[in-house]
C-alpha cells in the first residue's frame, strides 16, 4: 500500500477518480455514452474532444518545464497560427477543398514552429530567463495576430477545417486522435530514446550535465520548438472549433491552465523529472472540472474561483511542509523521526 501511496501518479489519479465519482453521484447520466449514427456522444467524449488543445499545449509545456523553463507564449502562438491558417483559407478561391486546408494548416503550424525556434533561441543561445524571453512573444504575438486578421474576427466556411475539431473517425472525435497521436509520439521519443533522460539531466543540473557532455543547448531549443509547434496545432483545433480566428480570445489564459495541468500531474516547476502520463491526467482533471463547474450552473466567468481553490489544495498536498506536519501528527509516538526529518531539511536548505 505504501508503494501505491508513494507513486508519483497516486494523487493526480486519485483526484481524477474522485472528481468523476462525485460527478456520477450528482448526475448518473454523466458517464452515460450513447451511440448515434456510428458516433459516440456523452460527457466523457466531450471531455476527450474539448481537452485536445489544452492537451497539446500541456505536452509541450511539460518538456519546457522539464528543462527548468516555462513557455508563456503558447496562447499567443495559438492566436497567430489560427490567424494565419484562417486568413489563407479565407483568401483562397476554394476554401472548401481539402488541399487548400492542408496547405493552410501546414503554413500555420510552420509559423508556430518558427515562433518556437525564436523562443528557443532567446532561452538556449542568448541565455535569457525563460519567463521573460517568452513574455516578449506573449505580449507581441497577439498584436501580430490582430494585424494578420486586420483586427477583425475572420470567419470561414470550410468543411475540411471543421472536420479537425468536430469530425468523427472510428466512432470517436477526430480531435481525440490528434491528442492521442501527440501523446504517443512524445512518450515514445522521450521514453524509448535517451532524449527524455537527457532532458531531465539538463533540468536537474544544467552545469553538471554540460560537464558530462550533454549538449544542453540543442535539447533546450528543441523543447521550445516542440512547445511552439504543438501550440500551433492547438490553435488550429481551436479555430476549427469555432470556425473563426479570434486573435483576442484564442488561447486566452491557456498558458496558465497548461502550467496548472503539468503541476497537477506531478511535474515540478523546478525542472528535472517529468511525467507525460501525469500531464495527461492533469489535463483530464482540468477538463472534467470545467465540465463540473458548467454543470453546477456557475457562470463560466466565476469558474476561476474554483480553479483557485483547486490550485491551492493541490499545491498544499504536494508541499513538503504539509507532508511533514501530517507525519508529525501520525507519528507522535516516535518524536525522534520527526526531529531527524527537520534536521535533514535544515541541512538541505
Amino acid at each position: 500500500v505504501t508503494q501505491i501511496l508513494k507513486h508519483r501518479l497516486f494523487w493526480p489519479v486519485l483526484s481524477l477518480v474522485a472528481l468523476i465519482t462525485l460527478n456520477t453521484i450528482a448526475r448518473p447520466q454523466f458517464v452515460k455514452i450513447t451511440m448515434r449514427e456510428g458516433e459516440l456522444y456523452g460527457a466523457p467524449i466531450d471531455i476527450l474532444r474539448n481537452s485536445a488543445p489544452l492537451m497539446l499545449v500541456a505536452l509541450g509545456m511539460t518538456l519546457v518545464i522539464a528543462t527548468r523553463g516555462i513557455d508563456l507564449s503558447v496562447g499567443a502562438v495559438m492566436a497567430v497560427s489560427g490567424a494565419v491558417t484562417l486568413t489563407i483559407i479565407d483568401g483562397s478561391a476554394t476554401p472548401g477543398s481539402t488541399g487548400t486546408v492542408l496547405v493552410a494548416i501546414t503554413v500555420g503550424i510552420g509559423v508556430a514552429l518558427v515562433l518556437g525556434v525564436w523562443n528557443g533561441f532567446l532561452v538556449a543561445v542568448l541565455k535569457i530567463q525563460p519567463i521573460i524571453a517568452t513574455l516578449v512573444l506573449m505580449l507581441a504575438g497577439r498584436g501580430v495576430a490582430l494585424l494578420i486578421t486586420d483586427g477583425f474576427i475572420t470567419t470561414v466556411t470550410s468543411p475540411p477545417l471543421k472536420f479537425v475539431a468536430s469530425g468523427y473517425l472510428f466512432w470517436l472525435p477526430f480531435a481525440f486522435f490528434i491528442s492521442l497521436a501527440a501523446i504517443t509520439v512524445i512518450a515514445l521519443v522521450e521514453r524509448r530514446t535517451a532524449l527524455g533522460v537527457l532532458t531531465e539531466a539538463v533540468g536537474i543540473n544544467p552545469e553538471a550535465s554540460r560537464l558530462a557532455g550533454v549538449r544542453s543547448r540543442g535539447i533546450i531549443l528543441s523543447a521550445y520548438v516542440v512547445s511552439g509547434t504543438l501550440a500551433g496545432a492547438a490553435g488550429i483545433i481551436y479555430s476549427s472549433n469555432i470556425m473563426a480566428a479570434d486573435a483576442n480570445a484564442a488561447g486566452d489564459l491557456i498558458e496558465l491552465y497548461a502550467i496548472l495541468a503539468v503541476v497537477l500531474g506531478g511535474t515540478s516547476l523546478m525542472g528535472g523529472k517529468f511525467t507525460i502520463a501525469g500531464t495527461v491526467v492533469g489535463v483530464l482533471i482540468i477538463q472534467t472540472l470545467k465540465s463540473t463547474i458548467l454543470f453546477l450552473g456557475v457562470s463560466s466567468a466565476q469558474s476561476p474561483v474554483f480553479f483557485a481553490v483547486v490550485v491551492i489544495v493541490v499545491v498544499l498536498i504536494q508541499s513538503p511542509q504539509v507532508h511533514r506536519m501530517a507525519r508529525t501528527i501520525t507519528r507522535r509516538t516516535q518524536p525522534h523521526t520527526a526531529a531527524e526529518v527537520r534536521v535533514d531539511k535544515e541541512v538541505a536548505a
Binding site: L135, V136, L139, A140, G143, V322
Partner: protein, 338 residues
C-alpha cells in the same frame, strides 16, 4: 584595472567615467530607460510638433496612475526574486468591490480602507503560500490571479457605476498650475512611488528586500528576517493592487470585473524596462516609474499616429526584448570581470 597614473585631463575624465560605470552598473538599465524615455518624448515632439504640451504630459500621469501604483508594488516582489501575476485581477476585484459597496450606500470613509484591505488579504495569502508552504511564486500568485478574477465576477457580472462624490472627487478635481494639472489620483500615484523609493533605499526593511533577492541564504545567515520580508512584499503588492483598483474605479467612474486582464504583463514589462532584473536583487522603484512612463508614452504616440492599438503590445514586446538583451550583456560583462 590599470594602475598607471594618467596625466592628461581627458584620460582622467575617461577613467572617471569608467569607474562610475563600473561602480553603478546596476543603475545602467534604469538610466538607459530614462534616455529612451527622453528620446521618445523629443522624437514625438519633433514629429508631431504638439506632443510635449502641458495638457498631454499631465494626461500621461493621469492615464497611467493605476499602472504606476501596481509597478511600485511589483518592484518590491521582483527584487526579492519573486513574481506577482495576480495584480491585474486584484485590481479588478477591489475595483468592483469598491463600486458595489458604494452602490449599496456605504460611506467612502469605510469603503476605501476595505478596498485596500481586500488587496492586502489576497497578497497575504500569496505570501504565506510562498513562504510557509514553499509554493513557487509563479504558481501561488497564479492561484491569486484566478481567485481575484473569479471573486470579481462573484461580486458582479456587469459593470457598476460609481456615483459617490468622494471617489469621483479623486478623479475630477484638477489642481492647476498654468496649463499643467494634476488630479488626486496622480498625487496618490506619485506619493506611493515616493514612499516606495524611500522604503527601498533608506529603511532596514528595504535593504532586507535587496538582501533576500541577492541571496536568500546569505540573508538568512546574516540573521535578517527573511520570512517576514517575503510575506510582506506580497502584502505590499496586494495593497498596491487595492489602491490601483480604487484609482481605476475613480478614473473610469465605474467598476468592471473584466478590467485589467493582462495588466500583470504590462506591469512586469514596465518594471523590466525600468531596469529591474527578474532574477532579483537589483532594481529601483524610480526605474519602474520611468518604465511606466515609457509604456504610457508609447501608447500615446500610437494613438497620436492613429495606428491600431495592437501595435502598442508589439512595440512594448520589442522594447522588452531590447532591454533584456542589454541587461544580459551587462550581467555577462560583470560576470567576466569577476
Amino acid at each position: 584595472m590599470s594602475a598607471v597614473v594618467q596625466d592628461s585631463p581627458r584620460a582622467r575624465a575617461a577613467a572617471g567615467v569608467q569607474t562610475f560605470l563600473n561602480r553603478h552598473s546596476s543603475l545602467m538599465p534604469a538610466l538607459a530607460a530614462l534616455v529612451i524615455f527622453l528620446v521618445l518624448l523629443i522624437g514625438a515632439q519633433v514629429h508631431f510638433g504638439n506632443f510635449m504640451t502641458p495638457r498631454n504630459m499631465s494626461a500621461l500621469l493621469l492615464d497611467n496612475a493605476y499602472l504606476l501604483i501596481l509597478a511600485v508594488g511589483m518592484t518590491f516582489v521582483i527584487v526579492t526574486g519573486g513574481i506577482d501575476l495576480s495584480v491585474g485581477s486584484v485590481m479588478a476585484f477591489t475595483g468592483i468591490a469598491c463600486a458595489s459597496l458604494l452602490a449599496s450606500g456605504h460611506s467612502a470613509a469605510l469603503v476605501i480602507p476595505v478596498t485596500i484591505l481586500g488587496g492586502a488579504v489576497i497578497g497575504l495569502l500569496i505570501g504565506v503560500l510562498v513562504q510557509y508552504f514553499d509554493v513557487q511564486p509563479f504558481i501561488a500568485s497564479l492561484a491569486g490571479l484566478f481567485l481575484a478574477r473569479g471573486l470579481a465576477f462573484v461580486v458582479s457580472l456587469s459593470s457598476i457605476r460609481v456615483e459617490n462624490e468622494t471617489v469621483l472627487w479623486l478623479q475630477t478635481t484638477r489642481f492647476r498650475f498654468g496649463d499643467w494639472y494634476i488630479t488626486p489620483t496622480g498625487i496618490l500615484a506619485l506619493v506611493v512611488a515616493a514612499i516606495g523609493a524611500f522604503v527601498m533605499q533608506y529603511t532596514r526593511f528595504g535593504r532586507t528586500v535587496y538582501a533576500v533577492g541577492g541571496s536568500e541564504q546569505s540573508a538568512r545567515l546574516m540573521g535578517l528576517n527573511v520570512a517576514r520580508t517575503k510575506v510582506l512584499v506580497y502584502v505590499i503588492s496586494g495593497v498596491c493592487g487595492g489602491m490601483a483598483g480604487l484609482v481605476l474605479t475613480a478614473y473610469s467612474g465605474a467598476g468592471y470585473p473584466r478590467n485589467g486582464i493582462g495588466t500583470e504583463l504590462d506591469v512586469i514589462a514596465a518594471v523590466v524596462i525600468g531596469g529591474t532584473l527578474l532574477t532579483g536583487g537589483t532594481g529601483y522603484v524610480l526605474g519602474s516609474v520611468i518604465g511606466v512612463l515609457v509604456y504610457g508614452t508609447i501608447k500615446t504616440v500610437i494613438s497620436f499616429m492613429g495606428a491600431e492599438q495592437s501595435w502598442t503590445r508589439i512595440i512594448v514586446g520589442l522594447m522588452l526584448l531590447m532591454f533584456i538583451v542589454v541587461q544580459r550583456v551587462i550581467v555577462v560583462r560583470s560576470e567576466r570581470r569577476r
